[in-house]
Symmetry: C2
Subunit: 195 residues, 2 copies
């Protein structure tokens, strides 16, 4: 993945004012994306939303795609479930966090835009892949303790897909009973003994 200026600067431990500007601009970029869609995420629009001069935004992100990439990287830093060591509880907890992200962080809009743009703009594929890999990692790690290969892939796609299908295609997040039923089916399906 190509490094953008902000990646360099974050690693180098830059001036706190520069870091704050970055935070403000990336938060504004996500807000503009969620509220007004992909086409609205331009340097002038984001600068206006963040309350900075557009020259500031252009200086850090001369290319719009880099602004999008950094904004999605920041957006991906969402809270995950804190593990307890109980596989069932941890899978249910992680799917519940995933559901919360849809409802509170409008992850439905972000993923729908990523999916739609990735099928039209090749540069978006890399951004989508990084974002999805980060988001699905905890589920895949948990399932990886009891499965591998096609079984692991099936289980991970089903549990993440459950939330995705409910929110994106039905407009309703899955309730607790559905999440628990799904986790139980997958665990039993993988031959894992349930208490």
């Amino acid at each position: 993945m190509r490094s953008s200026p902000s990646d360099h600067e974050r690693r180098a431990g830059v001036d706190p004012r520069v870091a704050r500007t970055h935070n403000d601009v990336l938060a504004a970029a996500i807000a503009v994306l969620i509220d007004d869609g992909w086409d609205a995420v331009t340097q002038p629009n984001v600068a206006r939303a963040a309350g900075y001069a557009k020259g500031t935004v252009y200086a850090h992100w001369p290319e719009r795609i880099d602004l999008l990439r950094d904004a999605f990287a920041r957006y991906g830093e969402m809270p995950h479930h804190v593990r307890t060591g109980d596989l069932r509880a941890d899978l249910v907890g992680e799917l519940t966090s995933f559901r919360t992200a849809f409802v509170e962080n409008r992850l439905d809009r972000a993923l729908a835009i990523l999916a739609e743009r990735s099928s039209a703009v090749p540069e978006m594929v890399e951004i989508r892949d990084a974002f999805v890999e980060d988001g699905e990692r905890p589920i895949r790690e948990l399932l990886g303790t009891i499965s591998a290969d096609a079984k692991l892939e099936a289980a991970a796609l089903m549990l993440c897909g459950l939330v995705l299908d409910a929110v994106l295609l039905h407009g309703t997040p899955p309730d607790d009973a559905v999440i628990e039923a799904a986790v139980d089916q997958v665990l039993r399906g993988l031959g894992h003994a349930l208490h």
Copy 2:
């Protein structure tokens, strides 16, 4: 659901030339949607793509949303798996048809656009719901023979979500081994004996 002029006309058994015009225009509307996105689906653009005068398209569909509704209804008439009576084979067959629709009919684009637009345009929710209900019906009927309530909901969302997540968020349809592993996990998870 509000009836559009074309619904009335189809029911009334209209002139074959009118029916052909309808077919051509709706096919063109879907092609424009898939190729150029939501905003491009206007009466003049669709008329041009279908090779008709724009007055013809406006006469049948004065409102753009009705053109979209009829186009999605037509698009939803995709081939499904022909049932064999063997539950495992029928679930695998139905998911394989679903995967084919993604690859051959660009269902990924259509669903991503539906998902993205439904979160921004309230009129699209009804179109999305009708389209998704039609698409998921066979899977829900098959699973309904061995489950109900939250268990059925979880199983249906997981199997449909598996294909959706793979195509929309990973850009790769699930292979046969993954589809079969998923069906086996769900059937075993629901306590259905596998041969």
